[in-house]
């Protein structure tokens, strides 16, 4: 039997070098450059090397930056919860009840997923508008003109976010559920467990890795959504990505944009650490 390989093994460390190089070049170096940029200043729309805390003082003293960050965080949390709630039954159905149709349904989801984001977002505008397809149908059903006026609202932003990010949750959860040993589910039934109890005590715990992976993917991507709040949200509820764009482009304040970028990254990392800690604690309690 082969010995388990350890990090002390030089060969193992060597094989990780390419990954470390890519990670360093395309993540760490840009991150350090962003951090460096946040300590500089601007003068006459040009970057000047000042090495001071002016931008950070500005970031921590302006409430509106934090209100936008809080809105972004709450929208990301709601989007993650909705995606998981919708993805769970869809993934379960794909793996169990719709096995014969799984390929076709997966193809449809992939097709929608790979369609250009701008096209999808503008499609939603045409669908949700006061004079759009949805309100046209509702009017035909007797609900009156512009019965559902949701476009250009945070609700519309949420529809767009969930629509764009749902496939990440569906596929990770479906993959996780597909690997569950069917005998374990059958054993639960044999032991007299109801369908609900089997789902709750066997299927969901075993699908946890996929649920967590899907949630992390959706949450991280939600923090950076740009098109949905800008186009479907009507711009009056800006989120972090728009704030950063405004700082870089409109205000030509690159140090401010860099500082706000770091704030979003830190908020995302801390949130994931918090959720990760809670999930780990819950798992330990369940095993105990």
């Amino acid at each position: 039997m082969a010995e388990p390989r350890s990090w002390r093994d030089g060969a193992v460390r060597l094989t990780t070098l390419p990954l470390i190089a890519i990670f360093g070049a395309f993540f760490l170096v840009p991150l350090v450059m962003t951090a460096v940029l946040s300590f500089q200043g601007t003068q006459y729309y040009r970057l000047v090397w000042t090495w001071d805390l002016k931008i950070w003082r500005d970031v921590f003293s302006q409430w509106h930056y934090w209100s936008i960050m809080l809105r972004t965080l709450s929208m990301a949390c709601i989007c993650t919860a909705l995606c998981i709630l919708i993805a769970l039954p869809v993934a379960y159905a794909l793996v169990t009840r719709l096995k014969d149709w799984a390929d076709h349904v997966t193809l449809l989801i992939v097709f929608a997923f790979l369609t250009d984001a701008v096209l999808k977002t503008f499609g939603w505008v045409l669908f949700l508008d006061r004079s759009g397809v949805l309100n046209g149908m509702l009017e035909g059903l007797g609900f009156g003109k512009a019965a559902l006026d949701v476009l250009f609202s945070p609700f519309a932003t949420m529809i767009g976010m969930v629509y764009s990010l749902l496939p990440y949750a569906i596929f990770t959860i479906a993959l996780s559920m597909a690997r569950i040993d069917r005998d374990l589910v059958l054993a639960a039934y044999d032991s007299g467990a109801s369908r609900w109890r089997t789902l709750r005590e066997v299927t969901l715990p075993l699908a946890r890795p996929g649920i967590v992976a899907g949630a992390v993917l959706v949450f991280v991507l939600s923090l950076g959504v740009f098109l949905e709040p800008r186009v479907m949200g009507g711009g009056t509820s800006p989120m972090a990505a728009e704030l950063i764009r405004q700082s870089f482009e409109t205000r030509v304040n690159w140090p401010l944009g860099a500082a706000l970028t770091l704030v979003v990254i830190v908020i995302g990392a801390l949130s994931l650490a918090l959720f990760g800690g809670l999930a780990l604690g819950a798992g330990r309690r369940a095993r105990a």
Binding site: H64, F152, R230, P238, T250
Partner: protein, 375 residues
């Protein structure tokens, strides 16, 4: 000590690229003939890159023009200021940014005497000395396109008279029927003027607070703050937006070109001694140390020539006025109608010129703050 970032690099990137280009050419010698004797790099808005504009210049000057499109003027300025000026020869952008490029040491100052014939072809209003494109009496560029910022109205839903002032923007009867265009400072300036403040002058805290209050009131009545022109135009066409604020001719002309002549951009009547309209203008300048100054000047002259001005006025995405008086005779009646030429001097007379605003960063910050608190 503060050092501009663009000055931190040693050899000019253009020189390095030239060297790399020479090496590449040496390697490819015999495999692929060069398309033109020289190459120029041109930073511009969409429309300036039309084949009918660039191709004749390339053919006449044996030069290959490589175009870099900008999507916003501040971004273009920032890119040049960060060091990209070494890579470019000519730039077309909004006039306040071209005006800034001279003193920022990223664009050449022009000798107006060299362009006397060009100025001679312009409308009187754009002839030298033309203050909006001067810094300390030195010329930073030539005007290429212009228009006005004012309410864009679909006359099937609203009369033009009802937009003789911006009062409707704050009228509860218009709640959720207004669309504000999120185009940098464009929507802020008309609102400041409506509040009785000239945003192009140095502002004190009280004036800035007044701008804050007017923006707050505007956002309360606004259905959407839209950056995308097609979304704004769609809403205007179907009546879900009664007017667009912060746009003007730039977003009207393409609709009028498509036959929607009932959509017009107007300028409100002067209020509190302040003209309420704003004249925007695009201009073209020569980037500092162009690889071939002669060719850079030739491209600049080409862009403002009457024949090219007509091409520049009439593009796929937007149609706009040009400063060339000689070009007017080359427009058809239909084109003149689309461009609202019958109204242009009335709009001019009722407008301020869009310029470098001393407090623009504070105003943009206020915009951010009020937008963050709007919902």
């Amino acid at each position: 000590m503060q050092r501009p970032m663009s000055r931190m690099f040693g050899p000019a990137r253009r020189d390095v690229l030239k060297g790399m280009g020479a090496l590449g050419l040496a390697g490819l010698a015999g495999l692929k003939p060069a398309r033109a004797a020289t190459r120029m790099n041109y930073m511009c808005w969409e429309g300036y890159d039309k084949a009918s504009i660039i191709d004749p210049f390339e053919a006449a000057n044996d030069v290959e023009v490589s175009v870099d499109l900008i999507t916003d003027s501040p971004g273009g300025f920032a890119k040049l200021a960060a060091g990209a000026w070494r890579d470019f020869d000519v730039v077309s952008s909004d006039s306040p940014w071209i005006q800034r490029m001279g003193p920022a040491d990223i664009a050449e100052f022009l000798d107006p005497a060299q362009f006397a014939d060009v100025y001679g072809d312009f409308y009187e209003q754009f002839r030298a000395p033309f203050a909006p494109l001067e810094f300390d009496g030195k010329v930073t560029g030539l005007p290429t396109r212009w228009g006005w910022v004012g309410p864009t109205v679909n006359t099937e839903y609203d009369s033009l008279e009802s937009w003789a002032s911006y009062d409707n923007c704050f009228d509860p009867a218009y709640k959720d029927k207004i669309c504000v265009l999120d185009w940098g400072d464009w929507p802020i300036m008309p609102m400041a003027l409506h509040a009785g403040i000239n945003p192009y002058e140095e502002l004190d805290d009280a004036a800035l607070n007044e701008i804050r209050l007017v923006l707050r009131a505007l956002f309360k009545n606004t259905r959407a703050v839209v950056a995308d022109l097609s979304v704004a135009q769609k809403g205007l066409m179907d009546g879900s937006f009664r007017t667009l604020i912060g746009g003007g001719t730039y977003c009207t002309s393409a609709l009028r070109k498509d036959g929607m002549k009932h959509i017009r951009s107007i300028v409100p009547e002067p209020k509190n001694g302040l003209n309420q309209g704003i004249i925007w203008m695009e201009a073209t300048g020569i980037v500092k140390d162009p690889s071939d100054p002669e060719k850079a000047r030739a491209l600049l002259r080409h862009l403002v020539s009457p024949e090219v001005a007509v091409e520049l006025a009439w593009t796929e995405a937007t149609c706009n006025l040009v400063p060339s008086a000689k070009a007017e005779a080359l427009f058809s009646d239909e084109q003149k109608d689309v461009l609202q030429m019958d109204y242009m001097w009335e709009a001019w007379d009722k407008s301020q010129f869009h310029n470098v605003a001393p407090n623009i960063d504070q105003m943009l910050e206020i915009w951010q703050q009020e937008l963050a608190a709007a919902n």
